[in-house]
Symmetry: C2
Subunit: 360 residues, 2 copies
Amino acid sequence: MRTLNVALGDRAYPIHIGRGLLDRADLVLPHLKTRRVAIVTNDVVGPLYLHRLCSALEAAGVQVSAVSLPDGEAHKDWATLNRIFDVLLAERCERSTTLIALGGGVVGDMGGFAAACYQRGMPFIQIPTTLLAQVDSSVGGKTAINHPLGKNMIGAFYQPRLVLADIETLNTLPGRELSAGLAEVIKYGLIRDAEFLGWLEGNLERLVAREPDALAHAIERSCRNKAEVVAADETERGERALLNLGHTFGHAIETGLGYGEWLHGEAVAAGTMMAVELSRRLGWLSEVDVARVAALFERAGLPVYGPKLGVERYLDLMAHDKKVEAGRLRLILLRSLGQGVIHADASPAEISKAIEARCR
Amino acid sequence: MRTLNVALGDRAYPIHIGRGLLDRADLVLPHLKTRRVAIVTNDVVGPLYLHRLCSALEAAGVQVSAVSLPDGEAHKDWATLNRIFDVLLAERCERSTTLIALGGGVVGDMGGFAAACYQRGMPFIQIPTTLLAQVDSSVGGKTAINHPLGKNMIGAFYQPRLVLADIETLNTLPGRELSAGLAEVIKYGLIRDAEFLGWLEGNLERLVAREPDALAHAIERSCRNKAEVVAADETERGERALLNLGHTFGHAIETGLGYGEWLHGEAVAAGTMMAVELSRRLGWLSEVDVARVAALFERAGLPVYGPKLGVERYLDLMAHDKKVEAGRLRLILLRSLGQGVIHADASPAEISKAIEARCR
Ligand SMILES: NC(=O)c1ccc[n+]([C@@H]2O[C@H](COP(=O)([O-])OP(=O)(O)OC[C@H]3O[C@@H](n4cnc5c(N)ncnc54)[C@H](O)[C@@H]3O)[C@@H](O)[C@H]2O)c1
Ligand SMILES: NC(=O)c1ccc[n+]([C@@H]2O[C@H](COP(=O)([O-])OP(=O)(O)OC[C@H]3O[C@@H](n4cnc5c(N)ncnc54)[C@H](O)[C@@H]3O)[C@@H](O)[C@H]2O)c1
Ligand SMILES: [Zn+2]
Ligand SMILES: [Zn+2]
């Protein structure tokens, strides 16, 4: 087991990464306020892992309530959130009861938001079971639900007391979901960790093959990168923006195709290629750099071209992204491989050419 | 105009108290992030005061959106909260837009919770228009909505950037609502401000007559007391509990009669008399003290006896209150007039006698 610490002052918390952590009630106990937890999971993850977690906790004398949500982003809404509150209240959970989210990013975001709001805040623990959740959504304290008029529009910054990333849970994850998670892993290398990028180039097939040691290393390194960024900028003003590499282009792809068509990580991969191409046009990256990044995504099973939506449509969709400030598109680009920058001066013409070059 | 400061470190904020503050856009402007606000009000307060506030802000170059909620505690729920989000999104309000709550405690609690959640937190300003909201709910950062299984169960701690208490808005407030607010005013004197209690004994009729100078003094002194308690104990662990004087008994009355039958402040007044009676039985207060407190409530137009629900029912309802810890009822009692204490050692028999004595 590897452990790293998210340095957030009096709200600092540990992330444990390893095999079989679902059975390790001993890791959970020190973080409970009382021996009472409510586990939030979903109809896919519950049947696979809920029983093990419950048994471990109950054997340690913890009283457990559980609620299983319908699977999928389509249910990341108020009605589903309310099901959590219904159970918490019906089973008389208190403000001191700990909510544990067991699942991917959807369960983590909703469980975290429920914990933030229930009686104005109850203790919260994340047990992420997708690669994306282990390297990204479980770290940083963002929680949210969707609104019909916008994704993640209603939420809170709310930090967990503990994150347990059990690598073995990834064995049941569909390959496409694993690949989507790798897009975010590669992102950390690109924006701030050239050494890790080198390691990924040497070990990517080991990740795709789900070799535990390789996964543990990649997850730890990813979490470390995200934790450092978040600790420096908890509520997303400055450096945290770098985490959005490829995301403004990617959101255009997700919205343009209709949500759910491409996975988020797939859109981020193709979107990152657009950012990389634009960085090359600004003279910051070489052709060889572009090819290196594309090769990495391809080995991860990810798309390196966006769908042909038409450049105008891309620009239009991007203009509606949250990252627009005073009409100027703030893009995350690369000064070099391993060094992301916020750039608000790219002209629409330059942006168009980069999109054009990376669609097909 | 009087101003006091709520000392919460980097989230400190001013409370301005005075006449005609609704027109004072100059007081609001320094606290806006951008010249864009969304006003949340309700169908009773909106027709009375929305136009004036809008005009003042618009004249100062601020772009204003507004949403009016149905009136009443019955609408303090998710469906109504969602109407706020609908408008914020439909009118493209940003994370930097400031939400202004214009109304009583219901509007303030919902507006504040909406501000806490919209895009994970937007700036928030309170313009309370009931006495209860001016002396209690607008100060302290508690926000919430109700759940069918419990009042104020879903919410957040979220501080405003500014509170504007315009005393003139109280001129349209129904007398019964004014009295209910006075219950909380008297409470501050009882739990921690003997000097203020003396002032109240000398000036209560001036408050009932809505004399501006008297109101301004009472509101300032109340806010100062609440602000001091909150600053010392932002998330309600220790001293903040004193603010619940009369509330555990009061909640039993509210629930026992069905919510809405008695106003909250009315139930608090009768509940405080039970706490006062119990304090006397413990030897902390004299008969004369009890009579002094009762006289004050009566002059404020408030009940000093609870309804005859039966002692068993009272105890039962109180046992379901949040303030139970490990089966022991934590009551707020008075060591002397002006000095509240948390007491968890009163026997059910003693509590019963106190209830019995103050029902009729
Ligand atoms: N909070 C943040 O900072 C943050 C960051 C990135 C993404 N997100 C959010 O995360 C969500 C996406 O997360 P995700 O990619 O984990 O999606 P997800 O939670 O929908 O999980 C993907 C699919 O895998 C299933 N699954 C989960 N674990 C499994 C396992 N071990 N074995 C088999 N199947 C499993 C899920 O049930 C689901 O069908 C989005 O809602 C996004 O907004 C949040
Ligand atoms: N956040 C906190 O710390 C806190 C503390 C105490 C109470 N509360 C909450 O506050 C709420 C009660 O607040 P309230 O007593 O202000 O009730 P309220 O908001 O329902 O207002 C009472 C009535 O007066 C009307 N009204 C408001 N201002 C008026 C005016 N100037 N002229 C004429 N009518 C006016 C309202 O529309 C309503 O009909 C409850 O929901 C309670 O839970 C919160
Ligand atoms: Zn992402
Ligand atoms: Zn009260």
